[in-house]
C-alpha cells in the first residue's frame, strides 16, 4: 500500500518533469518574444527615449505616464476605441444571431450560404479596407452612384468627421460579422431537440421558444463569442491605417493608431511605451475579469 503510494508520486513527479521538458522550448520562446519585450516597454516608459536619441540616459520616472494621462488626444482615442468596440460587438452580435438563426432553420442551399459567409472572414483586413475605400470614393465610388440611382444625395463616407467612424464600423461589420455567425451557428446546431418538442406540445409560440429556451441554453456560447470578438476588436488597426489614417482630424484615431503615431511620427518611443503599458494594464484587468467570469459560468 505504502509502496504503491510512493510509486504514484514518483510517476507524478516524472510526468511533471516531462511536461515541463516538453513545454520549455515554447515557454523560452514566449519569454523571449513576448515577456521580455513587455518588460522592455515598461523600462523604456520610465525613460526619455526617442528615436532621435535612442538611449536610456535620462530617467524620467512617471513623467511619461503623467504626460499620457493628461493628453486629451490619448484619452480621446481610448474613449473612441471603447465606443467602436462596443458598437461593433453589439451590432455584429445582433446581425450575426439573426443570420445564424436563419441558417439553422434552412436545409436547402445551406452549404452555399455558409461558403459565402466564410469569404470575408478569411480576407486580409488591408484588402477589405482597400476595396471599400474604392467603393466609397465620394465621386468615383460605386456606392454613391447606386445611391444616386435611387435618388439619395451622395454621402462623404470617409471625409466627414461625423460619418467616418460609422463607415469604419459598417466595414468592420461586413468583414467580421461572419465570425459571430460561425460560432453562434455551432452553438445553435448543438442544442438539444427535446425542450422544443415539449414546448410545442404545451402550445408555446416560436417567440416564446426563442426567449425561454434558445436564449438561456445559448448563454455560454453567446458569452464566449462576445468575449473573443471583443478581444480582437480592441486590436483594430489595419482598417484605420488603410481607410482613414485616424482622420478626418482625429475622428477615427483609435488607440493602436494613436500609439503608432506617437512612436513613429512624433518619434517619442518613451511616451508611446507609457501609453502601451496603460493599454496593457487595461487589457490584463479585462482578461483576468473575463476569465473569472467565464469560469464561474461552467
Amino acid at each position: 500500500m505504502i509502496e504503491s503510494a510512493h510509486a504514484l508520486t514518483l510517476t507524478d513527479r516524472r510526468d511533471r518533469r516531462f511536461g515541463w521538458l516538453m513545454a520549455s522550448p515554447s515557454l523560452a520562446l514566449l519569454f523571449l518574444v513576448i515577456l521580455f519585450p513587455v518588460f522592455w516597454a515598461f523600462y523604456t516608459s520610465l525613460h526619455d527615449y526617442t528615436l532621435i536619441s535612442p538611449n536610456f540616459d535620462t530617467f524620467t520616472g512617471s513623467a511619461n505616464f503623467i504626460k499620457a494621462a493628461e493628453d486629451g488626444q490619448f484619452r480621446h482615442s481610448l474613449w473612441l476605441t471603447t465606443f467602436f468596440v462596443v458598437a461593433v460587438v453589439l451590432l455584429e452580435f445582433l446581425l450575426g444571431f439573426l443570420v445564424a438563426l436563419a441558417l439553422n432553420k434552412v436545409e436547402r442551399f445551406k452549404a452555399i450560404y455558409y461558403a459565402i459567409l466564410l469569404c470575408p472572414l478569411l480576407m486580409n483586413p488591408v484588402i477589405v479596407g482597400l476595396i471599400w475605400r474604392m467603393f466609397l470614393h465620394p465621386n468615383l465610388g460605386i456606392v454613391n452612384y447606386l445611391l444616386s440611382v435611387v435618388g439619395i444625395a451622395p454621402v462623404n463616407w470617409l471625409g466627414s468627421t461625423k460619418i467616418a467612424i460609422w463607415t469604419v464600423i459598417m466595414v468592420d461589420i461586413w468583414h467580421q460579422v461572419s465570425f459571430m455567425i460561425v460560432l453562434l451557428l455551432a452553438g445553435l446546431s448543438a442544442l438539444p431537440r427535446e425542450p422544443y418538442e415539449a414546448a410545442r406540445v404545451d402550445g408555446a409560440s416560436p417567440l416564446q421558444c426563442f426567449w425561454r429556451i434558445t436564449v438561456p441554453l445559448m448563454r455560454p456560447v453567446i458569452i464566449v463569442t462576445l468575449l473573443i470578438r471583443l478581444i480582437f476588436a480592441v486590436k483594430t488597426y489595419d482598417l484605420i491605417y488603410i481607410m482613414t489614417r485616424g482622420g478626418p482630424g482625429i475622428s477615427t484615431d483609435f488607440i493602436s493608431y494613436f500609439i503608432y503615431r506617437t512612436a513613429f511620427v512624433s518619434l517619442n518611443i518613451g511616451e508611446a511605451s507609457a501609453m502601451s503599458i496603460i493599454l496593457l494594464g487595461i487589457i490584463l484587468a479585462l482578461t483576468v475579469y473575463l476569465y473569472r467570469y467565464m469560469r464561474s459560468l461552467t
Binding site: 516524472r14 510526468d15 516531462f18 511536461g19 515541463w20 516538453m22 513545454a23 522550448p25 515554447s26 515557454l27 520562446l29 514566449l30 518574444v33 513576448i34 521580455f36 519585450p37 513587455v38 516597454a41 523604456t44 439573426l98 436563419a102 434552412v106 442551399f109 450560404y113 459565402i116 466564410l118 480576407m123 486580409n124 482597400l130 476595396i131 471599400w132 467603393f135 470614393h137 468615383l140 460605386i142 452612384y145 461586413w174 460560432l183 455551432a186 416560436p206 456560447v221 464566449v224 463569442t225 473573443i228 486590436k235 488597426y237 491605417y241 488603410i242 493602436s256 500609439i259 518611443i269 511605451s273 502601451s276 496593457l280 487589457i283 479585462l286 482578461t287 483576468v288 476569465y291 467565464m294
Partner: protein, 270 residues
Amino acid sequence: MKRLARSIAPHLVLVVFSAIIVLPLLWVVRVSLTDKLTAYKIPPEIGSIGSMNYSAIFTSYPFTTWFFNSLIVALITTMIALPLATALAYVFARWNTGGVALRLGVLASQMLPPIILVLPLFAMFLMAGLMQSRISLIIAHLTICLPFLSWMLVSFFEGDVARLEEAARVDGATRWQAFIKIAVPVAAPGLLAAGLLGFILSWNEFLFALVLSGPDTQTLPVGLAGLETHAGVEIAPLAAATVVSLLPVFLLLPFLRKHLIKGLSLGALK
C-alpha cells in the same frame, strides 16, 4: 400561408445577407478585368474585358517579391509555431503543466494588441541589426501564432486520446512514444487545421510587417497598402492584386472548414 411565410423568411434573410457579401467581391473581380479608364467610369460601362491588369501587376509592380516574402514568412512561422504549440498544448491538456497561471499567461499574450509588442521588437531588432529582415518578421509573427495555436490545440488532446495513451503506457511505451505515436496521429486533422490557420494569421498580418519590413522584405499586405498611396487610386491593378492575394487563402478553405470553429474560438467552444 403562414407556414409558407415561415419557411421562406430565413431564405430571404440569407439571400439578402449573401448578396451584401458577394456583390462587392464580384465587383472587385469585374474591376480587375477592365482597363484603367473603364474602371473609373461612373455610371459604369462594360468596356473592354481582359486580363491586362493581371499581367500588369507582375510586370509593373514588385508583386512577385511581395507574394514570395509573404509565402516564406508564413511558411517558416507555421513550421516553427506548429510543433512548439503542439507540445505546449499537449502538456496543458495532459498534466496541466504550470497550472492555471501559465494557461492564463498564454491566453493573455493572445490578447495583447500587437502595437504593444511592436515598439520593443522594433528597438530590439534595431539593436541586433535585424531590421528589415525576414527573420524579424518571422519572430514577430511567432508572437501571434504560438499562443493562438497553443490555445486552439489544447482541446484536440482532451478526451479519448488520453485513454489510448494510458493503454500504450501499460504496454511499455514511454511518455514520448505515447505522445509521438498516439496523441499526434490521433490529433493530426486538428494539427493540420491549426497549421493552416497559423499560415493565414501570418499571411494576413499587417502591423508588424509594416514596421519591421524593408523595401525587399515587404509582404503582400504592406505592398498593397503602399500601392494605394503611391499611385493614387489605381483601382484596376489593385483589384487584380486583391483577387490574386485572396487565392491562397480560399484554396485552403476546404481543408479548414471542419475545424474552423475550434480555431476561431481558441478551442473555447467545442
